[in-house]
Every structure is written in C-alpha cells, then in structure tokens.
Symmetry: D2
Subunit: 485 residues, 4 copies
Amino acid sequence: MNSVVESGGLFGVWGHPLANQVTYFGLHALQHRGQTSAGIVTSEANVFKGHLGNGLINYVFDQPETLAKLTGSNAVGQVRSATSDDLADDSNIQPLLFHFNDRSIAIAHTGNFTEGVTLRQKLEEQGAVFSSNSAAEILIHLIRRNKSDNFQEALEDGLKTLKGGYNFVLLTDDALYGAVDRHAFRPLVIGQFENGAYTLASETCALQSIGAKFVQELSAGQYVIINDEGFEIVQYLEDCHVAIEPMEFIYFSRPDSDIAGVNVHKARKDTGRRLAEEHPAPNAEMVIGVPNSSLSAASGYAEGHNLPYEIGLIKHQYTGRTFIEPTQELREAGVRAKLSVVESIIKGKSIVLVDDSIVRGTTIRHLITILREAGAREIHVRIASPAIRFPNYYGINTMHTSELVAANHTIAELQEMFDADSLGFISVDGLLEATNLPYDTENRGLSLDAYTGRYLDDIGGFRAEFDATLTPIQQAILEGTFVDE
Amino acid sequence: MNSVVESGGLFGVWGHPLANQVTYFGLHALQHRGQTSAGIVTSEANVFKGHLGNGLINYVFDQPETLAKLTGSNAVGQVRSATSDDLADDSNIQPLLFHFNDRSIAIAHTGNFTEGVTLRQKLEEQGAVFSSNSAAEILIHLIRRNKSDNFQEALEDGLKTLKGGYNFVLLTDDALYGAVDRHAFRPLVIGQFENGAYTLASETCALQSIGAKFVQELSAGQYVIINDEGFEIVQYLEDCHVAIEPMEFIYFSRPDSDIAGVNVHKARKDTGRRLAEEHPAPNAEMVIGVPNSSLSAASGYAEGHNLPYEIGLIKHQYTGRTFIEPTQELREAGVRAKLSVVESIIKGKSIVLVDDSIVRGTTIRHLITILREAGAREIHVRIASPAIRFPNYYGINTMHTSELVAANHTIAELQEMFDADSLGFISVDGLLEATNLPYDTENRGLSLDAYTGRYLDDIGGFRAEFDATLTPIQQAILEGTFVDE
Amino acid sequence: MNSVVESGGLFGVWGHPLANQVTYFGLHALQHRGQTSAGIVTSEANVFKGHLGNGLINYVFDQPETLAKLTGSNAVGQVRSATSDDLADDSNIQPLLFHFNDRSIAIAHTGNFTEGVTLRQKLEEQGAVFSSNSAAEILIHLIRRNKSDNFQEALEDGLKTLKGGYNFVLLTDDALYGAVDRHAFRPLVIGQFENGAYTLASETCALQSIGAKFVQELSAGQYVIINDEGFEIVQYLEDCHVAIEPMEFIYFSRPDSDIAGVNVHKARKDTGRRLAEEHPAPNAEMVIGVPNSSLSAASGYAEGHNLPYEIGLIKHQYTGRTFIEPTQELREAGVRAKLSVVESIIKGKSIVLVDDSIVRGTTIRHLITILREAGAREIHVRIASPAIRFPNYYGINTMHTSELVAANHTIAELQEMFDADSLGFISVDGLLEATNLPYDTENRGLSLDAYTGRYLDDIGGFRAEFDATLTPIQQAILEGTFVDE
Amino acid sequence: MNSVVESGGLFGVWGHPLANQVTYFGLHALQHRGQTSAGIVTSEANVFKGHLGNGLINYVFDQPETLAKLTGSNAVGQVRSATSDDLADDSNIQPLLFHFNDRSIAIAHTGNFTEGVTLRQKLEEQGAVFSSNSAAEILIHLIRRNKSDNFQEALEDGLKTLKGGYNFVLLTDDALYGAVDRHAFRPLVIGQFENGAYTLASETCALQSIGAKFVQELSAGQYVIINDEGFEIVQYLEDCHVAIEPMEFIYFSRPDSDIAGVNVHKARKDTGRRLAEEHPAPNAEMVIGVPNSSLSAASGYAEGHNLPYEIGLIKHQYTGRTFIEPTQELREAGVRAKLSVVESIIKGKSIVLVDDSIVRGTTIRHLITILREAGAREIHVRIASPAIRFPNYYGINTMHTSELVAANHTIAELQEMFDADSLGFISVDGLLEATNLPYDTENRGLSLDAYTGRYLDDIGGFRAEFDATLTPIQQAILEGTFVDE
C-alpha cells in the first residue's frame, strides 16, 4: 500500500554536546515517516542555525561541513512527505525558524488542523503575514498575538485554539517543547541519554538508534517542556482520551517501534494470525506479503494457518532518488523498477497475498496482475486492516471519499475489480484484539473513524465536503444498516 | 554478512530502440551486485557514447539528459563494487571505451584473472600502455596484438589466454559479445525482448525487470555473439565443467533470480530447512534472520523446526549514500544507523539467529552483542553456508587466509569468540542437496574450493601466498585429517 | 576600491511572453550590483513561481529547466550583495514571495530604512511575525495591516511610512510596481520592448542588454504602476528633490549606463580630466588605473595631462566563484589570484595611479606595496571621488565612522600611511562639474552627505551612533572650520 | 576576436611543500589560455594522485577537499580549450596519468603534431592501445616502446620523432620535464620560488601570480629536466631557430606576461602606435578597442594619433559558465549577454575601432552592426595583426583555408563585407618592428606562416588539404604576385 502519505517525523534534543549529530541520526531513523524534505535547526542560547532541503536527510546533509556548521547543544528536526500540491514550495520545509527582536523560535509539526484554513484567514484579516503554507506558522502567529508576557502561557493558549490531529516540537532560547493533540493520534516520546540530556521523537525506534532510553510517551492533550532543570509534562487539555491512528500500527511505524507499550511488529504479526482465523484460505499453498510493511502480518498469517511463508515479491533495495522513470513504451513492455515477482516461487501455485491495507486499490490491482502474469493459479487477498470507508482529517492525506475504494464498493465488488479469488479484511474487533492496547475505553485506544465514520473530534472545515460526498455505503454504515463482511 | 565485496553486475543489449533506458533499468536491477560505480556505453554503428561515475546508478545518472545523450540501439553497462584500493582511481570505472582508427570497443568485466599481474607485466615489457588498472584492459591488448584480421578470432584467442574466474560483455560496431570462464563461476544469461532484441545480464532478475524473457544461460567455457542476425553460442574452451560460486546462491544474487534453473530464494529456504535438520535448537522460541540476505534461510529454518519466524533485526530502508558517520563518541553511546534490534521481540527470549555466512566474523559478533544488550536469553547461531576455510581467487575479494576466521579457528573456538550459545554451519553435502543443481559431476555444479581448498583451476600468481599462509586447520583439511563439525 | 558593498540590482517585467528569460538576462546585466544571491519570481494572474539561491545568477540558474519552470508573462528579480552578517541566512534572498488567501505578492528591494529597526519592533509588538531579516518584509506588513481595501492605496500609505534610501519592485496578480525614495538616491528606470511590454531596471545597461528602449527614469518620491493598460507614474511624496548617490557614478554603475541622462563612462572620464587640472603630477611618465572601475577616470586623467595611459595592473578575467584561497604561507610568498602588476611597464617609472575612491584604505595601500615591489619609482595617487568623511545610511554599507579612513586622518596623514609620493582627491565642486547633472538645486542633483555630513534626510535610528563616534575631522567639517585639500 | 581557440596552458612544479596549491593558482593565472577543462596531478616519489574535470579550474576544484587530497611535493597541471569535436570525450582531459609496473608518468601537452594521425595509426598497427584521442599519449607509447632502459634517453628519442608545434610537461617519480618544439612556437618558462623549488609555466604571468621569479625561457628544440639536484637544459634538436606564434603577442597572452623578454602589453601598444602611422584616420573623433584583447593596441593607436581613447564597448564581467543562451526570439530582439555598446559615447561620432585580428570576420561584422545601430557616424576599422591568409597547423585551430576570410577576399572586399568606412591591417614589417624581438634571423623570431604561407616546418599530413584548397589570393602570395595593402 503506497497511496497514503504520512505527514512526517519529528525530533528534538536539549542539552546534548552533539545535538546536530544526534538529530541527524534520529531523523535518519525516522526517514520512513517522510522522504520529501528534511531539516535541522540547532541552537545555543539565542543563536539559532538551520539547514533545510528537499530529499532524504542524507541528501540534504550530503556534506559533513553542512552538519558541522549547525553548532549548539539544542536542536529540533523534521523529515516530511509533501503532497504534490506543496512539493515545489520550499517555504514549507521545516523546521521553520523565526527571529524576533526578543527571541527566536524554531518549530516543526506533523498533522493537520481541522480549522486551519479558517484560522489562517482570520489571522490574515487581522494583518498577519504568512511566509509559508505550513500549519505550524499558525501557532507562531497565535503565540505572538497573545497578550501574555509569559511564553509558556502564550504557547498553551495557542495550542488550545487548535483543533485536529497534530504533534509539535518547538525550540526557544530557554526550552524545548513537544505537544500532542487531544487524542494523541500519533505518538511523541521522551527519551534520555546516558549524559542526562532529554530528547523527543515521533517513534521509539529513533531513541534506540541514537542510544537513548525510552522515558515516557506523551498522552492525549499533553505537552512537555524540557530545559536545563529537566522535564515537566503539562496536561493542557481536559476530557481527553487516547485514540491512536491505527495506520501507525498497520503501516507507518517501523516494526521495531513500540506505541503505548505495544511493539509494532508484534501487533502486525498478531493481526496476521487473527486474519488467518477470520479469513482462512483452505486450498492455499503458501503465504506472501507485500514488502516491506506487510511482511510481519504475512508471517503471522502463515504461522496461524500453518502454511509456508515465501518471498514471492521483491522490493528493490536500491531505489533511492531516481530521476529516470520508465517511458510509457518501456512500461508497456513490463519494465518496472520497484517491485518484482519471484516467478519460480509463484508459478502454478495457489497463494495468499497479505497486504496491510487498501486505499485506492491501485497497488493491489497491479500486484494481482503481475502475479497472474507470473503464473499464480489462485490469489487469495487478505488485508491486515479493516476496510477504510471514511476519510481521515487528522493528518493523513486520505481526505476525499472519492479516493477510498471501499467507501464506494462492497467487498464482493472489490474482489471482482481486483480479480482476486477471494478477499478478506480483518474485522475492527479483530484489529482491536490483535493490537491489544492497554486502554479500557470503548475504542480501546484506537481511532476507528476511518471504519465507522463516527469522528471523535469535530472535523471543522471539512464537514461540508464530507456531507456532500456521502456514498450509499457510508450512509448505511452511519445508519447502522450496513452488512458486508 | 557484509565483508564480502562482489565484483559487479554486467548488462548488454543489441538492437533495441531504447538501449540506454533498458540498460539503465537492467543495471538498476543488478545494483545489489555493486554500488561503488556505474556506467553505460551505447553505440550505433561506429558511434560510441558513454557516461560513467562513482556511486549508485541513479546517482551517476541523476539528470535525465545525461541518459538521453547516450543514443544508439546497442549498449553495455556495468555496476561495480570497488575495493578500497582502487576506489579513488576513476580510470577503473567501466565500461572502458577504446577508440581505434579502425573500430571502437567498449568492454566491461567482472571477476579476476589468476595470472593478471604477470600477463600485464609481460604486455608492458612489450611496450603496452595501460590506461587503467582494470583487468578488462588486458583482454583489449591481447586482441589488438593478435595477428588475425578477424576480430572474433582475436577475441577467442584472447579469452583462451586468460585464467581465473571472469565474465565479459564487449561491444563493437557490429556485434555484442558475452563470455564466461572455464567453470561459469558466475552466471551470464541471454534474454530476448518482444521486439526480438537480445540482451545479456548477470542475473535473470534483470531480465524480468526490463520485460525480457529468459533464453539461455551461458555454460562453462562459452561465449555468445549477438548481432543483427541473432545470436550464436561458441564453446571456446574444452574440458570445462560447471562450478558455480556458491555465494551466488547464499549471498550475492537477488532472491528472484534463477541460476542454472534453480531459484535463489528457494535454494536459500531449502538450505534453512536442511540447516534445521542438521543443527536443531531444541529450546529456542523463535527464529530471526539477518536482513536482507538471510531472511529466506531463516524462514526455511523456522518452518523446518516449526518455530515462529520473527522480525527481530531491522535493516533501515533509507541508508543510501550517507556522508555522515557517527563519531566515536556517538558510536560508544550506541548510535547505529544501519541495523536495529526489535527489543520487545527479543527480550528474555531464546532465539535462533540465522546468518548466510561468516567471513571475518565481525558482523556476527556485533549482532550477538546488540542482541544480548537487548535482552536475548539464549542465542543459537546457524549459518546457511559451510565454514569458509580457504581464500577465493576467482573474483570475490576474500583473498587472504588471515581474513577468514574459520581458516584459523575451530567451530568450538568460534562459538566462544562470538559469545554464542551454540553454533552450527550447514554441511557441504547439505548445501549440495539444498541447492540441488542439475549436474551430476562430483561437485554437482558448485565450486567447493572455499570449503575444501582443492581448487578446480590453477590459482596462478596466488600460489605463493597461499602456500606461505597455510594454517594448521587448512593443512589438516587438505590432508583429509580434519574433523570439526 | 572593493570595500563598499552595493545593495543590489532590481528588475521587473510585465506582459512579456518570455518574462523568465528577459529577467534572467536583465539580472545578468545587473550582476555587478550584487553577487551574493539571485532570484526570480514569475507570475501569470495569481499563479506565482519562484527560484532563488546563493551565488551569481548563472550559478543559481545552472539548469535550463529551472528557468523554464518559471512560467508566466510577468516577473520580478533581484541580484544582491549580502553583508557577512546575513550571508548564511537564506531567508533573506529576494524576491520574497507571500501567499495570502486573497492574493500573492512578490517583492524585492535595495537600500536601507533609517527607521527599519524601530518599525519592525513596533510591528512585532503588534503581533507581526517576520520570516526574514529583510526590510522588504516591513512594507508587506504595512500593506497588510492597512485598513484600505484598495491595494494601491495601502502600498502608497506603506511607502509614506518608510524613511531612508530604497528602491522597490513589487508584483501582484494585476500589476507591477516600482518605487524610489524621497531623493531618488539610486536609479530605477522604465523601459519598453518592441512588443509593447514594459520593464523596470536598476540601470539603463539592463535595458540595452535585453533589447528594450529607455522610456523614463523615476524621479524622487515617485512610484510607477504598470499593468495591461500601460504605465502611470504617481508622485506619492511632496517636497522631494533629487540627490543621487555619487558612488553610482564613481563606482557602482556600469560605464554604459546613463543616470539622469548622463553617461557613466563620460562622467568618469570628465572626472579624470578635472582631476588632472586640480592635481597635476608634473614628473609622472604614465597613468594607470585600478581595474575595472577606475579605467575611465584614468584615461581621462591621461588625456587631460597628455600622458600615456598604460595597463599597469591586470584584473584576472576568470575569478568567478573560487572556493580556494591562498593559505597564509602562500600569501606571504606573494601569491595573489585577483590583481597583478605588469612589471615591465612599471619598473623604474614615475606613475600616476588613479583609483575611484578610498574607504578603508586597505586596497590602495596594498596596490602601492605591490607597485613598489615591481619597481615603480614614484607613485602619485589620484582619487576620482572627494574624500569620504561621513557614513552613508541610505543603502551602502559604509555605515561606521571608524571604517572611513578619511574621517580619521588628514590627506597628509593618508599620503604617509599609504606610502604615496603625492595624494590628491577631486574636490566636491570638481565632481559636481564633471558629473554635470541637469538639476539646478544647491547640490546639483548629487547627495553630498558623505563629504559634508549634512544629511538631506533624517538618519533616524543611526543618530545616536553618529553622534557618539564623531571624530575631530568630522566635527571641524560640520562646524565649517576644516581646511585640508 | 573570439574564433581562435588556444590549445591550453601548462604548469609544473618540483619539490614544493604546497605543490597542489601552487599549481592551482598557477593554472588560475593561465585560465585565459583554456576554459574547457582543467586538471592537476601531484606526486611524491611513486605515489601519484590526480583530479580532472570539465570547466574552469575553480569549478573543477570547487571543494577545498578535492585539492587537499592531491598530496605530494611535485605536480603538473593543465587548462585546456577543447574544440567542439572532442568536448564530450572526457578521456582527453589532461594531465593524463599512466601507471606502469615499474613507474608512473603524468603528462600534459599543448599544440599539435603534424604527423599525429599517421604516427598513431602506425603505433596501433603494432598493437598499441590508446585510451584517449590526446596527442600526448603518442609520446608515452613512443617512450614505452623504446628499447633503452634510460627514461631520459627514451623521452629524447620520442621527442625527436614528433613534428609540429608542441609543448610538454611530464612528471615521473624522479623528475619533472618540460619540452618545446623545434621553433618554440609557444613559450614555456622556468621559474624559481624563494624556497628554491623550480616551476614551469606557459607564461610568465603565472610565475608572478605564485610568487616565483623568472629564471629562463626554453628556446627552440630544448627540454629541461628538473629534479632534486636542480635543473638542466638539454638541446635535443639541432638547427633550430625561434619562430614565436605572433598570436601569442596579438591575442593569447596576458598583457602582464613577457615573451622572449618583450612585454605583451608594450608590444600591443607599440603595434597600435605603428598602426596609427600606417593607417591614420583623419576625420575620426575617438578610438575604441574591442575588449579585452585589443585595449592595449587601441590606447596605443589613440596616443599615436592624439585622439581620445574611449570605452565604447563593454565586456561583461560576470559571464562565467552560463547554461542559458538567449532564444532565437530574444536574440532577434537584440538581447546580448556578453558585449554592449555605450550608446551615449558612440552616437553621432566618427570612430576608430581597433581589433586584434580577423579570422572568420563574424565578430567584426557583428560589432560594426551594433555600433551602427547605436548611431556611430563613421567606423574606421584598424587591425593590430597582418591579414591572416594561411592556416596554422602548429596548435591553433585555424586549420582550414575556408575559415579564413582574408584568404578568400581582398581588403577592399572585406571593407565592403564588413560595412566599414575604412579598413587597415598592420603590415608584417610593422608587426616585426613593434614586437621588436631580440633575434636577428630573417623573420626576427616570429612565425610568419599565417601571412606568407611559407611554413617553417613540414606541415606533414596537412599538405594534401592545403594544396587542395589553395585560393587565388593564396596562390598569388606564394608566387609573390599579390599586391593588396
């Protein structure tokens, strides 16, 4: 599944003599969360230095000098996936760095504000001048327009004004801040180095990569302030409850990360096992997964079903920044640079193909085509996520109902469209059990919006489009009359 | 296992309107065979154009114009791994392109000539001027000094003069040639496009990537000439028999490639199953593989032993061309950019760690260290290759006995050095059976030199060093008195 | 004289089908006005596209595609010399491009606001968020905070708030604007193409370079609005009179430019002739000029004095972007990459050395040293500018009294410091006559601040430093008691 | 005059601790002799390191590390202008570096061998493999095929085999060599540093640039060997006499260089004075020169004629490596990036336009066009070189009679073709007197081939084309019946 773009990875560190290097390697470990641009701002007291650019972090910092120039013991950084809309606009590369007469602020964020457009328009009407399209800049304007002389108060007021799904890291001359939204849709974790310095990261895998120990994960409606005294967590919103974006488990996060204490690989594998129970494939001879995100689920399915787990699809290791795409002529000839079928494994076999999720359906359709071309006899598709039937407005770019194939088609229709011999999605309950988060709320700590359409939070400026594009399937789900799986 | 450097991948095409693009994508699919430099030479009649550079193919061709300038319907290309010795010498990047008053020749090779140094010195004494350190240039000098007016005859004479393990692709104004050595140590395959054009590649995976069908694999002592008439295979050496480098199955090749009709993934998986029989691990709770080359063997072991196959080690997807390495200070803090342990999977567990092979032993030692740090209770190491006890002189850079840890230590010693709870290598017979090549010679089509020390071919100029560095273990093996496994 | 940094060159075009290319070549012709960074923003209706970077314009646009992407028939561009302070801050590269919900604005400026710091601080206190250190952004904030719905009114109000020496080009969805300050310190000219399209440029040489005809020069306190209807000039300030920065004639401008109808080469040559009258050199055998800015004045001096004009100093043609500077060791050995003495011309001769001006005095001191080393017998220094004795606050970075050697030393002292055999500066009257501008005001259209200390305009926030650093020489000049030349 | 391409600049140094830097700055000072590629090879004993590339020297060495890696106290380097033919062939960038089993050799050359093609063919027939199209490689093959064990003997034999106009620098493990041809067509000078180290350079200006003193210029048929003992000059050819390429004085060399003790600027100025005597322009009001190569001659003409010398044509300072050329559309609109007319100087005036030489005539024609467009009333063209009527086969690429406008037209015809009001070339005698070289041979130390067609040296392989393309004018000159000037 490739059609979902994650909104990026955040990193911060305070009081580490090698802040620039630590941030570089921290972002390197978060690179899977965003490949379009990368940036680091370091600081020492009120001297801030930054370097940003398009591309992978090792491309942006392709000269050791560039990183070496970023002196100082504090830093924030970001890796990010731009949508095609804002790809060309370099002003959106983060962290954004603002110099005021009284202080400097570096800020980076991930996610989406449901009232972002309105909020920005209102600020512009009051004379605000935005230098980027980035939502992060809205927070800066809110802070600067706040009457309070106290920065932390102004920040807190600003955060309370925002709605939606977001994470922030923010660096001032005297502190590093990290903040998560009302539902902690996406994780932000605190780590600590042996030398005592604290760090923030979007995933625990970054902590391990840089030799820091996991300390704590920010919970719903919290922010942390880290300074020379240590760290303090502030509950800035009340009546919050955790609702983690399930795609973090299913697709985004690295398998070696833990979210809310649950290992991602383990959750995926258990999802695969559960999927084998819910949707067995009696005649199948082997299980293959779509690399790399579905391999854990596929091996879980294989074990659950007692079938061999085979490497039937190869993802090329050296894809990197390719400037050359096959021409139409070559594409028709079957030229492909990213994924190959292992013909001699597949030929004549009945296989279970496990994928993590289905959004537009184009990838799975393509895979089935090349597997059939390679001689697969039967293809039983199993999906390690429930059918995604409602848009996400909290920071994943699956924002339009029209792009969600399962919002427009029943599973039987999808099976036919994809030319699959059978098709099964894990149930919502199956996902909740396999993930097994330590929360006893109704949704057990996962955000189920995408499956149920009952949004936990107001969807703000997106309501009009949502209502206008409601499909019969969505309608039936909201009315509780839909039966499919 | 990272300490073996493969000598590269070759590609050629004749008579394809998009020769430049086809070669680009062909080399892209062979990128795992060499990452230090890449190059393409295209031609149309006697107009030859080339572009070469250090780095991955998508880095060398980072501007579409660069590739577009390489016009013509014929091409040869190479990706290559340089040893540190010749890294700085750009004159070694291939294909080499020679312009003579009567014709031009582009040539690329992989492998090693056992008499290369002597041959070159002899030619220099006769006044030859070499422009590179590349062995490929020796063949050009042999061809040009040949008295025959017939190019093909001169080429054949030249090839007969060479000894060792090598593959060539060679492009002239009227034909494309591919050649393999007396034992076909490494594969070179012929493919065909729908439009009839023929292509040559080091692995079948490249054929699939560019939409070409597999036609035939060159056998020991053969070369192929491809021109507008089609292709013809010539047996230029007699008394040859196939002895494929086993590392092609174990480590080098992509799992979706077939060698001598045997799929690499399948061979690896069967090796894993066989390893489970030969060296079971009764108390182990799970199997993990060293990514990416050992994953097939690990899943085979898991199935053979009926143990869960887990993702306990993560190889970072975005490593690419990193200019920044952790400083010593960071390294001591545990910063690592390439491989991570999934702590929550490993902690407290007894695991089987499957690796493809052991050369110096540094990687396995490092992996055991970080697995223990992550809390692994027991670590049972299983190696999907027999113990490598003799140097390779046919194109893999494991040339010195001193670098081969198993040439200097028994398995019991290795187990202690690595701090493993147990250690098992697959037997030579096990490997032969798992690979199951369709040859009925004594060695069943594999080169067993590295395990037995009985070299199939003369090792030429390396004999002196070989004799001088013989270890007690090697001596005992050669005398047939060694008992270890 | 190299120690004065000009603040840049501006360019704009409206309604030309090749706006991007025209702007590229226009900026190329203005490159001598700034070499640190370059940028172009093009637009078509409300679609704005920009590309900016550090370095010369041909370095920033080193790929034809980069320029080709800047589609649209309108454009603004800038080349700029950064001071070392802001060199590293890429956010200052212009044109700045702002996207508002109702429109986009691209802006570039040259010059300096005497109240810039105060103004910015006031705006920040009102909550304004600045994304750059650039003064141009102040105007944007003023415009956006204006209550008027009419953009032109808001712009006019904003301009009236500013003080100092500045030029602007500004592009909106429906017009191109150009503005000059109360004294037209630096030129901004309107040109027209054969196809009717209008253009703006900092110098007439840019018009000639792109095949446009000169139409009109903006006068003190004017702005021009160019749109599909044609152009209209608005006198937005009253009680203005022209006071052109004399360094435009003496040093900055290209000799083929005209300012207020006066050709720069001609003015320089006449200055040289006048200098020969005011300060003859009876025993001199030849005249040499410091390349390239002093060659016109030197040839004028030679003609006025009937002495041969020789090429005694060579400026290297290929200096470009050199990343390698002579090490200290090499510098001591006399290695120099930029300027050479023609020894065989100079040796044993009594020469007149004409330089355009003296700021710090380091260049002239260095030149005299290398001329003496080359064997010059006598060196008579003649300066084609009056002694610069007061700082400039209107856009040239000679802002500190301490940096002006003539503010701290009499001419006799300077002659000794420089080791010159004689030293003469042109008089202020001499400069006025040689320039011969068509204005009958007291200062005849030139700004004489740098010589007299009587600033035409308020120097705003710089007053305190000015008063605090007053030297005895400055004091005497202001009191009318100084006699030197 | 831009249509003559010089064949490059050479540099060498032996025994200097900063050999890499000294060579960099030496080549920088020789950059005017070639802008297409640059390269440096350094050595210490038998360790040789090189870096080469396309573009200016500061572009090829755009990273200080690149230069820093070239360790060692000896070096050779080259800057070179490629003809369009070999532009794309990177194998021709020099110095060429050859590694043999017994030694390494780095070599760079300028010039042309009149028997080069034949010589190469002969060597290829003997089995020689050339890696470049460079003539320098021929010498290497000659050396390596020599029977002598003594390198210096082999080199001397090789040099004796060559014919034509050439200079060499050559670096081995124990010496630096420099060689010039039988007529010393182009200079090669020896310099010495204060630390005693010796250096070689194509022009004296490079010595001055790096702080070295001029020691001696190699004379016709000499080579120099420099090693730890000092230097020794060997006369390897007999019956030589000096015949310097006159374009070295007229166009190629930097004005601050001396050739055979004569300063280039002085020679040019005297040529201008003499031109004023031979071809006065009674009604002219001013003299302008074509920048930069004709400025000295123009100021000489102005003085000789007692006319003002004006800057009527501006050559843009920042031309550099421009990737963007005006489109046809823009060119027609008069867009030009390299040379501008100073309209206000020229308008309505009768001018003398001094250019250094005429080859194809395209430049002068273009200049007259733009001067007339700018309003010049009369244009009297004066050329500081005799009419070039015969091709040059010794290293300047004016090799074809068809390209020489004066080989095909009388002066009266040229005047009309160029639309000049009058046209005068300096006479050959005038040039000899103005240059005033210290030789008492018939041609006074200049090569007059281009004017007389009587080649000093055999023109070898070019004879056939020469004879075949003889024009009536050439014929008449050779027969002594031509009267024109």
